[in-house]
C-alpha cells in the first residue's frame, strides 16, 4: 500500500453510512501511551527520539493491526503529503509540522492510525463512520493489547497510563464524535449544544480538532475527563446521554425547517447547489458551507438525484492538499480556487457538461 493509493478515494469514515449517519459523520477514539524507560518527548534527546521511533515502527509494523499497514516517515515526507494526512484526519496538525524523528502507521481502510512521537510516544486512533463508539473501542482495545504485548507502557497504579500532559492521564482516552448540525445553526439554536456539552464537561471543537473553528456546521464533541472513570463509563455517557440529546435537538430543528419553513429551506439548498454547479472560483471554506447545506438537502429528501457519499467525498477532495495531489502540481491563489470550482462542477454536472 502506498500513500498515493489514498488520494483519490475517501476513507472508511466518509462512507456516509453507519448508525445515525444523517447527523453523526464519524466516531473516533484515541489512546495516548508512552513507553517506560524513555523520557517524554519534551525532554528526550535527538538520539533517544530516533531509537524510540525505530523501535515503535518495528513493533507497529509487526503487530498486524490491519491486513496491510502503511508507515509514513514524517521527518522526510514532503509537506504536501503531511497536509494530505491532516485533511484525512490520520495525523494531527502539530504532528504534521513538528520536527525530528516521527511517523504514522495507517491501516488498510484508514480506520486505524498510530502516530509515533507526537505529544506522547504513541497516539492510537480508530475512526469509523456514523455512531460506532463501542465498535471503535473494541477495535482500539484489541490493537492496544497487541502493542502492549511487545511494549512496556508507562503505567502507575494510582495515575493509570502516564501521559506528557496531565489532562490525558489515567485512561489516556479521547472520545470524539463529529456531528453535522446545519438545522440547529439555521434556527439559531446551536447554543443548546454548547450548553449540553458544558453540562457534561465536554469540549466542542471544529472539523480539525483542537484550536480549529467550527466550519460548515461541523462540530466535534470530545470528553475532557480521562481519570477516575472507566473507558466504558466515558463511552457510555457519550452514547446514551450526550449524543442522543444533541441528535434529538437537530432532528427537531430539521422538522421545524421542513414543516414551517419549507420554502426558505428549499431556497437555501437550491442556492447552494446552484453556486456549486456554476461558480468559477471557490475557497475551501465556502465549499464547506455550501456542501453542508446540500448534504442537509439530501438527508431531508429535498434533493433526490444525489448521493450522500459523493458529497462526503467532495468535502475531502476539495481540500487544498487533496486538490493539488489530484492535479499533480502545486496550485496557489486563483489558480487553486479555479481548479476547485472546475472539479466540483465536473463532479456535480457529470463530465462534459460544465
Amino acid at each position: 500500500m502506498k500513500l498515493s493509493d489514498l488520494t483519490n478515494r475517501a476513507g472508511e469514515w466518509l462512507r456516509g453510512s453507519g448508525p445515525m449517519s444523517e447527523i453523526v459523520i464519524s466516531s473516533r477514539i484515541r489512546l495516548a501511551r508512552n513507553i517506560s524507560g524513555y523520557p517524554f518527548l519534551t525532554r528526550i534527546s535527538r538520539h533517544e527520539r530516533q531509537a524510540l521511533e525505530k523501535r515503535v515502527r518495528e513493533v507497529v509494523l509487526n503487530a498486524q493491526i490491519s491486513p496491510q499497514t502503511l508507515y509514513v516517515d514524517l521527518e522526510t515526507a514532503p509537506e504536501i503529503d503531511r497536509a494530505l494526512l491532516v485533511e484525512r484526519h490520520l495525523i494531527s496538525k502539530p504532528h504534521a509540522t513538528a520536527e525530528g524523528a516521527r511517523g504514522v502507521a495507517i491501516g488498510e481502510d484508514e480506520s486505524v492510525s498510530i502516530m509515533v512521537n507526537e505529544e506522547d510516544h504513541l497516539r492510537l486512533q480508530v475512526l469509523r463512520s456514523g455512531l460506532q463508539l463501542e465498535e471503535a473501542w473494541e477495535q482500539i482495545n484489541e490493537i492496544d493489547d497487541k502493542l502492549e504485548a511487545k511494549l512496556d507502557f508507562a503505567f502507575h497504579p494510582r495515575f493509570g497510563y502516564l501521559t506528557a500532559c496531565p489532562t490525558n492521564v489515567g485512561t489516556g482516552i479521547r472520545v470524539s464524535v463529529m456531528l453535522h448540525l446545519p438545522a440547529l445553526k439555521l434556527t439559531g439554536e446551536i447554543e443548546k449544544v454548547f450548553r449540553a456539552a458544558k453540562e457534561m464537561r465536554l469540549a466542542v471543537r471544529g472539523l480539525y480538532g483542537e484550536g480549529t473553528e467550527a466550519t460548515g456546521d461541523f462540530y466535534q464533541i470530545s470528553n475532557q475527563t480521562t481519570l477516575g472513570k472507566t473507558e466504558d463509563e466515558i463511552i457510555s455517557d457519550f452514547k446514551h446521554l450526550v449524543i442522543p440529546k444533541i441528535i434529538d435537538y437537530e432532528h427537531h430543528a430539521r422538522r421545524t425547517l421542513l414543516n414551517d419553513r419549507t420554502v426558505a429551506l428549499d431556497d437555501k439548498v437550491s442556492r447552494s447547489l446552484g453556486i456549486l454547479r456554476t461558480a468559477r472560483l471557490m475557497t475551501s471554506e465556502e465549499v464547506l458551507f455550501l456542501l453542508s447545506h446540500l448534504r442537509m438537502g439530501i438527508n431531508l429528501g429535498r434533493v433526490k438525484e444525489m448521493d450522500i457519499r459523493m458529497v462526503n467525498e467532495l468535502f475531502l477532495l476539495t481540500q487544498p492538499a487533496h486538490l493539488q495531489k489530484l492535479q499533480g502540481r502545486k496550485l496557489e491563489g486563483d489558480v487553486r480556487r479555479a481548479a476547485r470550482a472546475d472539479f466540483i462542477r465536473q463532479k456535480l454536472n457529470g463530465s462534459g457538461n460544465s
Binding site: 504485548a149 503505567f155 502516564l162 492521564v169 447554543e191 469540549a203 477516575g228
Partner: protein
C-alpha cells in the same frame, strides 16, 4: 486575584473551580455578555464578579480565548496558582524538569514526574478530571491487569463524585462527612 493561603482543604480545592462559561449574564464593566466568572475569597468573604473576555484580559491579565475548552482554562488557572508553597527548585533526577518548568508549558518530562510532583499535581488533576484522582480504567496485562477495571475502587469514586456535588451545592457539612468517608475507605 486572591487565593486562600496555606494548605487548602478539600472543600476549598473543589470550590475553587472558579471558571465557568455561561451565556446569560452581562459584564460588570461593560454591557457585553459575561463569559468569565470569578469567585474571590477576600478576608473570608466570597465576592463574585462577572466579566466579558476583553475586560477579564485587560483587568485581570488573564489569557482568555473564545470557547477555550474548560480543562485548558482550569489548567491555565492551576498553572498560575498551584505550587505556591513549594520550593521551585526540586528537579527530577531522571529528566531534570522542575515544577516551574512544567508550569510553563503544561507538559511533564518523564513517567517519574507523576510520583515526584504527586502533591502538587493532585489539585490540578481534580480540577481537570471532575474530581477524579485515581485511575479506574484498563490495566496492562504485564502490570497484573486483564483489561478489567479495578472495581473495588468504584465506591470511593462514587463518594468522590458526591463530594464534588456537595461542594458545588455549598453543602460543606455533607462534604466534610463525605471526605471522612473517603479517607476511611482509602485507609482500609
Amino acid at each position: 486575584m486572591t487565593l486562600a493561603r496555606g494548605r487548602n482543604t478539600i472543600e476549598q480545592e473543589l470550590a475553587a473551580g472558579r471558571w465557568a462559561v455561561s451565556y446569560d449574564m452581562k459584564c460588570d464593566n461593560c454591557n457585553k455578555p459575561a463569559t468569565v466568572h470569578l469567585t474571590e475569597i477576600k478576608h473570608g468573604k466570597k465576592v463574585e464578579r462577572h466579566l466579558c473576555e476583553q475586560c477579564a484580559t485587560t483587568s485581570e491579565g488573564m489569557p482568555v480565548q473564545g470557547h477555550t475548552p474548560i480543562n485548558e482554562l482550569l489548567t491555565n488557572f492551576v498553572m498560575a496558582h498551584s505550587g505556591l508553597q513549594k520550593e521551585e527548585g526540586t528537579s527530577c533526577e531522571h529528566c531534570g524538569i522542575t515544577w516551574a518548568e512544567f508550569r510553563q508549558n503544561g507538559l511533564l518530562g518523564c513517567e517519574n514526574d507523576y510520583q515526584l510532583f504527586e502533591k502538587d499535581l493532585t489539585p490540578l488533576l481534580q480540577r481537570a478530571h471532575e474530581g477524579g484522582t485515581h485511575h479506574l480504567g484498563k490495566v496492562p496485562a504485564r502490570r497484573g491487569g486483564s483489561g478489567v477495571p479495578l472495581s473495588k475502587r468504584t465506591d470511593v469514586n462514587k463518594l468522590r463524585k458526591e463530594l464534588a456535588r456537595a461542594v458545588e451545592a455549598e453543602d460543606y457539612e455533607r462534604a466534610a462527612k463525605l471526605r471522612d468517608q473517603i479517607r476511611q475507605a482509602e485507609e482500609s
